[in-house]
């Protein structure tokens, strides 16, 4: 190749070089692509990020509770007393001073509420958040938030993706990727609407996408290919049948025609991995149900209850009539047996009858606030906090590492996600009023891993609206109402110590203990 006197390529040489480069790249690209696919582990790991600690650290666990309908932070830990709100107290959602209890040595507040009715439902509501706050304040962090949607499903999804803060991944997928790769079902999701959706990052391994569970009591029956089916042949015959089927799946015209499709590749992979589910006898270990013929004739079908079944049923006695209790029971077993790194649960929008009051779940959950704000919020907060308390109690009783004395709770974070806040206005001094959806709210995180006894941000008592904070320093930013969905998302992962390198997420050090 000759150069011009000025050291540059001649026009003809330049065109030739470009042509050759194009030809070369065309020749080489498919081979390099093939190599990359075949040897992609390291590259994929680099691309998707955040898997280093999976190999080097012990697992951590995330429980997301989808508080569907809009759990208002000013009806709980950041409640405002009427005397603090000045002249506007009567028009905003402020409480009589006596209803908002302070907790010594803590920035949190606790609401005590009594009413003879829950909206038009004739049951008494009598709740008090004080005991919960006193018990868990050192593990509690409340961060104020400004969302970007007042549509339930969209807001729910954004509460777990930080509004696509990290390639659209959900928090649960991030945790499953980081700590759940060696687990049978890293990400199990039992929640409703947007809380139950998967993220939009298609580069993640399929195993971290949520395994959707809609019936927590019966779902474990699907964790074995034949146990509990009467009349099946012996194990060695089953193994032969599976081998014959698998061989023919590869050899058949159908198998060869579609061998390279993602669908069949996933199917083969899932089939191989399912052997692990059977080997761990998860159909038994995750089975909350008791042997209770004729409705639940486990022993007649060669099945049995989990060794932890009686204990879990004692803590969650309503597990059969209350889906949220059933989900919490299964969530504990999933974590205890290290089947999952992330579990998602939450009440749904359906009315559920039962329990001591006759109502386990009001229609629309927190969104029953459209009908009767105060009663709905009090009832539902009590429902959420009671379940959280039971889960923490179980996790605290479960050893994680006898050498270090750690319990499961030491390595678990509970994120009470919610759709959005509620509107603040009310008719003058009304005690029964309705509320709408509002972007302004806050989230509760509970874990030994968060900076406990901490409120990030705050509430302006004159408007009852929250203001923001610096996610790095934790300094309040009075008057700031900028959206901070990525900060909350990052805060959860930062508190858990996730590897966020390459994520581009903001610094959220203020969340970490």
């Amino acid at each position: 190749m000759s150069l011009k006197k000025n050291g540059r390529l001649s026009r003809r040489e330049a065109l030739k070089a470009l042509t050759l480069a194009a030809a070369g790249s065309t020749t080489l690209a498919p081979f390099l692509f093939g190599c990359r696919q075949a040897q992609s582990t390291a590259e994929t790991t680099e691309a998707i990020g955040g898997r280093r600690s999976e190999l080097t650290t012990k697992p951590k666990f995330l429980i997301v509770i989808g508080a569907a309908g809009g759990a208002s932070i000013i009806d709980s830990f950041l409640a405002v007393r009427a005397t603090e709100a000045g002249a506007s107290a009567a028009q905003f959602n402020t409480f009589p001073d006596a209803s908002v209890q302070s907790v010594a040595g803590s920035p949190f507040r606790a609401v005590r509420y009594m009413n003879s009715k829950l909206g038009s439902i004739p049951i008494a509501v009598n709740t008090d958040q004080l005991a919960f706050v006193q018990k868990y304040r050192d593990d509690m962090l409340v961060a104020t938030s400004i969302g970007t949607s007042v549509n339930h499903t969209i807001a729910q999804k954004r509460a777990i993706t930080g509004n696509a803060a990290w390639k659209g991944r959900t928090l649960q997928e991030c945790v499953a990727l980081q700590w759940g790769q060696g687990m049978p079902l890293p990400n199990v999701n039992m929640a409703v609407g947007g809380y139950g959706e998967r993220g939009t990052d298609v580069s993640l391994p399929a195993s971290v996408y949520p395994e959707t569970v809609t019936n927590p009591s019966l779902w474990p029956l699907g964790l074995d290919g034949q146990k509990g089916v009467l009349g099946t042949p012996a194990a060695d015959v089953i193994a032969l049948a599976r081998k014959t089927r698998n061989d023919l799946d590869t050899e058949s015209v159908f198998g060869q025609t579609f061998a390279k499709t993602q669908v069949l590749a996933r199917w083969r992979s899932q089939r191989e991995n399912s052997a692990g589910l059977e080997a761990q006898d998860l159909i038994t270990r995750l089975n909350v149900l008791p042997d209770l013929p004729p409705q639940v004739p486990l022993s007649q079908y060669g099945l049995s209850s989990s060794p932890d079944g009686a204990r879990v049923r004692q803590v969650f006695p309503d597990f059969l009539i209350d889906p949220f209790s059933g989900q919490a029971a299964l969530a504990f077993l999933l974590l205890k047996n290290q089947v999952s790194a992330a579990v998602t649960i939450g009440p749904d929008f359906n009315v559920k009858l039962g329990g001591t009051s006759g109502i386990v779940n009001p229609p629309l959950a927190f969104d029953f606030s459209h009908n009767d704000h105060r009663s709905a919020q009090a009832f539902m907060w009590a429902r959420i906090l009671s379940t959280v308390d039971k889960l923490i109690t179980l996790l605290k009783s479960e050893p994680f590492d006898t050498a270090t004395g750690e319990t499961m709770w030491d390595r678990t974070l509970i994120y009470v996600a919610t759709d959005f806040g509620r509107t603040r206005t009310r008719p003058d001094n009304a005690t029964v009023f309705s509320s709408g959806h509002d972007l302004n709210n806050g989230f509760l995180l509970i874990s030994p891993m968060v900076k406990g006894n901490t409120v990030l941000g705050g509430v302006d008592p004159l408007t009852t609206l929250g203001y923001g904070f610096d996610a790095r320093t934790g300094a309040p930013k009075v008057g700031s109402v900028a959206s901070n969905e990525p900060d909350i998302f990052t805060g959860v992962l930062t508190a858990m110590g996730a590897d966020l390198s390459g994520s581009g997420l903001p610094d959220a050090s203020a969340f970490k203990a």
Partner: protein, 209 residues
């Protein structure tokens, strides 16, 4: 015209690429053309249940139940099989992909349906739906390579996969019979009937379209 040194460069690049031994194309060439679109879909709970019910001539609600009373495809495993649950969890659209537990649930369904079919057929082989006329020698197949066995395999594949079985498939299923006998199973004929039925109805071809 391309100068020799450039040809050398291109050759070297080509060699470099082909030196990668992990390209799938370099081994196990397919015997049939690979689909360029490959737009496979999982059948989903309703279609799977109705297909198995029709193929094995079982009532739709008897294909598979958990604990003898809870319907597999419509209740217990609906979502694992790609169904929806709009009223409880607000799952309005199927996920579109198989989940980690789908293969196991498919197997439960296949075992459940096949054991039921075989139990009925075995009680009167002369009037059996699938395994008609198969002759037994005590608890064994009298002739694993016999016409009746081949006919039963053909029945299963025709009903389950809507096509004729290949010679390879017939040979494989006959070999399965001999392999089961070799395990010392007390009822090898019944076990084979269940196993071959299971192999057909839990195959990828039976659950994707």
């Amino acid at each position: 015209m391309v100068r020799p040194k450039y040809l050398l460069l291109l050759t070297a690049l080509g060699w470099l690429g082909s030196a990668c031994t992990n390209n799938e194309e370099t081994y196990l060439p397919p015997l049939v053309a690979s689909s360029s679109r490959g737009n496979l879909r999982f059948k989903g709970p309703e279609r799977l249940n109705s297909d198995v019910a029709a193929a094995l001539e079982l009532p739709a609600d008897a294909v598979c139940t958990e604990l003898g009373m809870y319907q597999c495809t419509s209740t217990v495993h609906n979502v694992a099989l790609g169904g929806v649950e709009p009223y409880g969890t607000g799952l309005y659209e199927p996920s579109g992909v198989t989940s980690s537990t789908t293969p196991l649930v498919v197997e439960r369904l296949a075992w459940s349906a096949c054991t039921r079919r075989v139990t009925t057929d075995f009680a009167d082989l002369g009037a059996a739906v699938i395994f008609r006329g198969i002759k037994l020698n005590s608890a064994k197949l009298a002739d694993p390579d016999g016409e009746e066995v081949r006919a039963a395999i053909t029945q299963l594949v025709q009903r389950g996969l809507l096509r004729e079985p290949s010679e390879n498939e017939v040979a494989r299923y006959i070999k399965l019979a001999r392999d089961i006998e070799a395990t010392g199973n007390a009822e090898p004929a019944r076990a084979w009937m269940q196993a071959v039925c299971f192999a057909v109805f839990s195959s990828a071809e039976a659950v994707f379209y």
